[in-house]
Symmetry: D4
């Protein structure tokens, strides 16, 4: 309930259209939905075409279908489903028309918006094994309407691979740096780039990689200013934040 | 060396003003300084008035004075010195005219720029003990020319304190959420806000707070999208990133 | 051996019915069984209808059946079996008449008592993935005769969901707050509620969730007074403690 | 703002006493303070004589004095100040009349209430070194009006010491079990007692005690049902929860 | 090479039966086998009937057979094979006549010696799930000729179960205390017993049991003197050490 | 209360010297002191001259004096005080006649017994920095009447130093192996020796030594059978256990 | 682009063969490939016959085939593929002629060079279970043209096994010491040898071996100078470094 | 005892100059000193002028003086004392003529050898705070006769600083890469260089730097082949290994 709606409600009360008790009840039932602070994406999404997100983990195919259909029927144009197990696809695709990105386990129901931003999000990875996380970030960003440039396998062991893309890095509005093992990519990009860098540690590696902890610590301790970090393998989160930043001023 | 400078160099070679060997030597000596990608802040800083930053840790008062003076003499208008021990102040202030923010151990030499941004950075803390880290973030942001709103002691144990500032949170362009102990502030703000949230765990707490690790893990696992994290107690880093984001589109 | 039994034994000695040596032997053999302090649940259970509990882990289906039958034959009305693997059900159900709650792997043999408490235990979860642990807590509490209110999926990322249940929280006699990931639910409920909160971290999450350690640390560091914590995924323990508290004064 | 106050406000709007715009403004400014759910202790405390608590850590002596005086002037009868450094006492005692418990660093301003509960809280420790944490729990409980029985130095290495107090343990309404090193006290008490046990690990020990982590893990893994745990050295928290439980049904 | 063999060798040199060069070569080739300090068990074993031990992990069935046969052919009476996977049994039993203890994955080839010690080793466990580790210890000890008393499922949650066996504990020459979860059994036994206690943490438990780390830390921090610890689940090691101690003075 | 005392009590009851109620009361008050199983060292100590032990940590000089005097007055011949801070010595030595071993912070009041054992305890250290822990072990063992051989600075980096003492190692009845850093000494000694080895990790080292954790893990994972481990820096515990073993069969 | 090529380019510019703009473009496109510092192994490899390495993890069989064929076609004589899953072999061997070392999951396409070094690399393991890692190191070294001596199963529990190979150790130019469990082998070899020792912790062990962490810490804390460490199970890395060292001065 | 000495001993036995018993005794007493494999540095040092090393930690000034004097009197030309506390200098310098390098706490008694190697060791650091560790490495290497090039403050946040020293890196025979925080320097250098890289993590940093653990993990997980790692802050160890490598082939 927007502020003007509250005033409308009160005006109706003042006008006798509704009783004070009815108004109180209305305020009591929906105190938070009115303020809307906790569901901004849904309503704004409807008006602006921003996708709604469903986390696939811990939900049954049936639940995912029901939520997706309900959202689409309520006017949502795009629904993004993350961490969607491959074995769900058969059951879900019989009920919903959707596209599945297997490499990163993302499903998209409804229309996939075209890139509307002038600014570009660069998604860079240290190695080829980091690509599933990178695609989770990239496709999330694309579904949110962003222009995305992929720079995969540009890790610091062969740093010339990264430097041959200096222009992409300098032109980016925000960069997602994704790496496992020692995670040095974030620091090196952070040292070159002039925009916010979202670092994503991946669980790639063995032994003392400790499932991504080594990369995480590297990224948190980056000597380059401008680097912030999300959870291990959290490509979606990085794509979401990058989209937030990329939409500023557009 | 800008691209046009390379072309100039080559033209001089073509004109015989310099020999090919001299040109090769020139390219060999400064291959990276020419590109300048790794020092963008300094030069742009000079042109645009962006402050230069000196990390105070591990440097002697003499070193700090020399670097600061050199920067100011080369045209830098503002120099920010972080993690500057209180016991250095006497020696440094005899040599440089600068302002010391004792609560967060920041020194600023040269002029402190006025807030030039329309967008606002909200700096929120869970408790009063988090204020030194918060001030490091806030003053960093202010010295970089940002408008800052401070919301201190709005932790989740008394969540009404936070909600009485809903408007500030909804109006922010970027938010810095700072908390120790269980670090839940970042998730709660992330659930309400509609802009990027930079989370800073602090080392406040005892026992299983583990010097900030508990808060760090909370923030990395935030179920709210839009939250990224920096190192424990890294107020400067958060202020720097927030400033980057806040300047977009201004 | 109750105190009166000791006096009886001594009276018999005084009467010469048994010799001092026999009495000494009797005292020597059963010094602890006499006091019975370590088996209060069994005997009191028989008199009062309190269920006996069998941990299913590390026992064979045969062992579980034998213990359950022995308890029921000795007058126990209800037997609760926790962590009972689904693959045991076929074999056990051929021998015992019991009900299996698959979502939380609890089996109940004998009659399930009706709620006898006036006070209510609220079982709240951060997300839908926490429901198996929550049901372990809720069904344990119900089998112990408690009235239970379930508030599932009320995590802090959409804090309005929690606040729309403020009345349930204010009316509870004890609350079980169950969450994985950053575990902030316990602090937020602890800040609102006016009764003891038992926090249960769950192993839900990935990367730095570290199998529940992140949520555990959050809960141990809760800035809200009134929160105590049990082991990761220990729904049974929380239900048991909540039942103890809920029965006080009834 | 109670529900009836909301109805009154709306009635006034209906009556034209205030304009709808004024009513909207009123609702916008105080949406949470009206509900008051987040400050129950203060107001109820004033009505019922429950002490208010100030955390001493991270506050200056001046701040502590100001908050304490403000609370006392607003009708608060007792103010409990925890983790109050000894070196603050001189400055504070010049301004406030208060009692300082040095062993556990608690200060109490105003009157210390007499024990009003019929039920008893047992505070037990494994060793003499755990006494500072135990006194923090015991005095907290006493200041909240509870009857407290202290059983100090009854650790499992000499388990007869504990068993000579079996009656105290069986008579308790709630028990606080405090131990460092291997923390086995909580399990042994939990195995004997028939009431909730709040376990407090302490940082006592060396080497692999890891500042209380060893005791914490023991307590979280207690094979005895009925044991929940608070942060390392958190005597206050345990005393607060025990008081909550002890007041049920009184 | 025993000392007398060295003297023999030198006598032969002195007698001219072999040249000094040949003697030097002989000493150079076998400098350590001569001293025999690193293989005391094999040779002494042959003389005294002490079993030889083969670790089954990381060896193929073929390798195990070859080593076992070689040992038996060289006069070894008993060969103990630990951590022997069940799936090896079929292949091995076709080649060797041996007995397999499935619960603890121990195989014994050759004759199993009768208990020859007067002293008794008590093997106690906290729960029934610890029995596989306990049997590894008990059977190891028995194969080394020790009298063993088993006290299983005597954990501290029902401490009367342990105390009903006080006599066994007081009569033991050495005790092996085996427990998972909080591992308090070792401390309680260590507080009662008057002989060395070898504590074995097991990986039983979940969540913060951390695969045995919680029990390990408890045992290392035992406030009872007389407790030393071996690796998690290392029943063999405990049985071996207990046997060493039990044979002293026999 | 010894068994014969119980029989006496019952006889008095049978004789009518005391009433059954009085006997019951007597049994109720002292149920555990009668059995005395938890205080064997004190009484046996009095009869046999075994020292009583006081842990100095967490006790005041006054408390230590009072306990020591009380023990000596009750017939105790020797009192061992461990972890006794140097700054306590002045105050204590004014009240008690005792000897202080500064290197290992042990005080001994009363007479120091002469070595009475035929068997020898070898105390070996990896480096010179481990000597304080080693002396804690050695003096503990000596005060308990054991013959002790010290082998200091025989670490594996110069393994010939250890091997030049092969005879001491082969002749020992029990060995205490003390090392920090990588803690390999325990494995090497365990591979050579033919008796129980008690390993003590020390907190010597820096960086990844992690205050003794590296040495602890090495010792727990020793590939040599016969090695058990005590807490980091726990020289007393090792000396106590070694004394237990060394006294077997004497 | 070698330095002489840059000079050639500039000469052509000076001669007018190419325009300055063309030269600038050429320099802009390939700034790093020209310098070639980041791909020294490829080109030098072609000239010197040094193998190229492909990491098999995270690549499909198709990708591995394509890269391998491309390298061979470009003149590479030997291609080493590490961590190559056994299930890939069928598919790959249909397309490429290569040899697969199953024990260490290495594939080698092209010719395997003969040992060309005079110096020898010793590869030593603590146990037989470490052999897969050891073979990864040994075969890597051999494919890089080194002479390798294998000393397997020479761990410290039976230290005579190691000492019987003293000559091999003294003659080595560089040693790779591979061990799991307590990892003491590296220290013992480091104490004897007079050449660099590369230590490889393996994930062999259970319980507190923590998947190689115990061995890793031992090796990092080695009291023997001359020991450096690589990641857990990183046999390839050790072989690569050892080869670098072994080729010095040849 | 060299091999020829053994033969001499045996010849004397053959000649009757000594009895076989005397020879056996001689061999029994000094079996390891004869072989001398464990003291190669001392004797070779005397012949070749290689410095002897004393670890200063855990030794008194008196002990250090005595050892140093003894070494010098026995012909040692140079004695290196590491980790020498500044407060020892006054006492030691009164007794020995030696030079103290305060920044890295190294003392050198006797003559400091001139660089004798043709090959160069590069010592590189990420920041200025790493210089104490770097100087420990550099001075160690210089005292062992190596030519050293220092590249300080060339961390990856400003990667052009490193690349402006590409020639130094390409010319090095071995490189020591020293960094705290995220430790990415080792990977970047390892990706460029063509020689062994010894990585030294430093304890520089705060929060999640965890005293060097973050840098350590980065270095162990380096995606660049050719990097091995030593303990946190172990500059001496790196200098020692680098010297070993640098002397090969000289």
């Amino acid at each position: 309930m927007e502020k003007f709606e509250i005033i409308n409600l009160l005006k109706k009360t003042a006008n006798g259209e509704i009783t004070p008790e009815e108004a109180a009840e209305k305020l009591k039932i929906d105190p938070f939905e009115e303020l809307e602070f906790a569901k901004p994406d849904i309503h704004r999404g409807l008006r602006q075409g921003i996708p709604e997100v469903i986390y696939g983990i811990g939900k049954t195919p049936f639940q995912i279908c029901e939520i997706t259909k309900s959202l689409l029927e309520n006017g949502q144009k795009t629904v993004l489903i993350t961490k969607l197990p491959k074995e769900y696809i058969k059951e879900i695709s019989e009920k919903i028309n959707f596209k599945y990105f297997e490499v990163c386990k993302i499903g998209v129901a409804g229309e996939i918006p075209k890139a509307k931003t002038k600014g570009t999000i660069v998604v860079a990875t240290g190695g080829t094994s980091d690509i599933p996380v990178a695609e989770e970030a990239a496709i999330t960003a694309e579904v949110f309407g962003n222009k995305v440039t992929r720079l995969y396998d540009v890790g610091v062991a062969g740093i010339h691979r990264l430097f041959s893309h200096t222009k992409d890095i300098m032109d980016a509005k925000v960069i997602i740096a994704i790496a496992g093992m020692e995670g040095a990519l974030a620091s090196v990009i952070g040292g070159i780039a002039d925009c916010p860098v979202i670092a994503v540690p991946t669980s790639i590696g063995y032994g003392t990689a400790f499932g991504g902890v080594s990369a995480l610590l590297s990224m948190l301790n980056s000597c380059a200013s401008g680097v912030s970090v999300v959870n291990i393998d959290n490509g979606f989160g990085a794509g979401y934040i990058a989209s937030m930043i990329n939409h500023i001023g557009e």
